[in-house]
């Protein structure tokens, strides 16, 4: 996180705000809700309070504006610069301006007003841009489902460094951004995808292209806005050019950037008994057309051609894969299967039916 140069801050904790005008692209009630929720992002983690006022000057004046709106920072039309805000202070200090020519929404289409407002209010309170790609105060727009939004730890640290901690008995904490070379990094799910490998962690994906040394970090929502965070299992069906992603008792089928219509579906459609509540990991063996699902200490085998589970399953993992323990994530590449459990990775040779290697979980990231 970074403070605005000069460390400006409000001298009071009880601040006021006013919505000067509304965008015709959203219902007024939805704009009010977006503003209220964006303010609560910061009031939840500090002693700050925000009171809505009408018809008089407020500390934070929120408005939608066009192009040149007489603050020496003209907007640039659709996309590009979405909004800006001013550091704490009198008059224009603290004010938030939103570019009226953007497609403001309350969901994943266009630009989510809540997300942009929450970011700009960080400036209104004295924060500058953070270079943590997962931080709310990172300069680029990225969509997160407002219902799943948690203020990241980097932003909590920043705002509390200015205004102090929340008065709540239990101090709120937030998600941190995964670092590819963090030796403690573990994964929720892993899949190959058209020659690349995607490692899922919380709301993020670490993307590794075999020809590129560096690892790319993205939000899952950047590729698939309708997918939830916290994907628990994933595998690629190379023949159908699809990946299947699992969370709790549902699964999605994705082809390229598109979620195949009709998904998510219950995992029971694949033949799991109702006693199974979630899938921990999965991989698909392209050469045999069999897909392996790992749940707790057992696994199922699914025949992609027959589209049904094979008989005689579930079986014990240890019986056929050796001492790999619980499986958090798995994928197959170049004939080997890689099983991830916490910070350890096992390389399994399905032909020899034995473990042939043991590495750290982050061995794919050229650390």
């Amino acid at each position: 996180y970074m403070f605005t140069p000069g460390n400006p801050k409000w001298k009071r904790n009880n601040l006021t705000y006013r919505i000067l005008n509304y965008t015709p692209k959203m219902r007024q009630a939805d704009v009010d809700e977006a503003v209220r929720k964006a303010l609560s992002v910061w009031s939840n983690v500090t002693p700050l309070t925000f009171q809505k006022v009408e018809d008089k000057e407020a500390d934070i004046m929120i408005s939608f504006a066009y192009r040149d709106h007489r603050d020496n920072s003209p907007f640039d039309g659709p996309n590009g610069q979405l909004a800006h805000a001013f550091q704490p202070g009198d008059n224009i200090g603290g004010d938030v301006h939103l570019d009226e020519e953007e497609a403001w929404t309350k969901d994943g289409r266009g630009y989510n007003l809540f997300i942009v407002l929450a970011h700009e209010l960080g400036h209104s309170l004295g924060l500058s841009h953070s270079d943590d790609p997962g931080a709310l105060m990172f300069p680029n727009y990225s969509y997160t489902d407002p219902n799943e939004f948690l203020l990241p730890q980097d932003d909590i640290n920043g705002i509390q460094a200015i205004y102090g901690r929340s008065n709540a008995a239990v101090q709120p904490t937030g998600p941190t951004t995964p670092q590819a070379c963090d030796p403690n990094l573990t994964f929720d799910a892993i899949t190959t995808l058209r020659g690349e490998i995607f490692f899922f962690k919380g709301r993020y994906m670490l993307r590794k292209h075999p020809a590129r040394a560096e690892t790319e970090l993205n939000f899952i929502s950047l590729f698939w806005p309708k997918l939830p965070s916290g994907i628990q299992a994933a595998y690629e069906n190379v023949e159908r050019d699809e990946i299947l992603l699992f969370k709790e008792d549902k699964y999605w089928v994705v082809r390229g950037y598109d979620i195949v219509p009709g998904y998510p579906k219950p995992i029971y459609r694949l033949g799991f008994p109702k006693t199974v509540k979630r899938v921990n990991a999965a991989y698909s063996d392209e050469s045999t057309g069999k897909t392996y699902f790992f749940v707790a200490d057992r696994y199922w085998r699914y025949d992609e051609k027959k589209k049904s589970m094979d008989r005689g399953y579930p079986r014990k993992i240890i019986a056929d894969f050796g001492r790999i323990g619980r499986v958090d994530a798995a994928f197959q590449k170049d004939g080997y299967v890689y099983f991830f459990h916490e910070r350890t990775q096992y390389q399994f040779d399905p032909r020899a039916k034995r473990i042939v290697g043991k590495m750290n979980s982050i061995s794919w990231f050229n650390c």
């Binding site: 605005t4 140069p5 000069g6 920072s73 907007f75 996309n79 590009g80 610069q81 979405l82 909004a83 800006h84 805000a85 550091q87 570019d99 630009y111 942009v116 970011h119 700009e120 400036h123 500058s128 841009h129 270079d131 790609p133 300069p139 680029n140 727009y141 560096e214």
Partner: protein
């Protein structure tokens, strides 16, 4: 003569890079372009600053990853200085 498509793209790229650095990295508009400066080219210096901020490879050149980042929708507040 009509401008060759590549040259036109170059023009747009230069315009994108300079306006991005002016908006968000305090690049001062060079009012005496005809004078050669002994310092590092200010655009290169600011480009490196921007690449470092975004965790990109610091090349000082408008490489594809850098241009891709510059085209992303974003907040209008500068990344450095106010």
């Amino acid at each position: 003569f009509p401008v060759a498509p590549e040259a036109e793209d170059d023009g747009k790229t230069i315009q994108l890079v300079e306006s991005y650095l002016e908006n968000f990295y305090n690049l001062q508009r060079n009012h005496r372009p005809h004078l050669r400066s002994r310092d590092e080219n200010p655009v290169v210096a600011k480009l490196k600053e921007m690449q470092e901020f975004f965790g990109l490879q610091v090349t000082g050149k408008p490489d594809p990853d850098t241009l891709k980042m510059m085209k992303k929708p974003r907040c209008g507040v500068p990344d450095i200085g106010q």
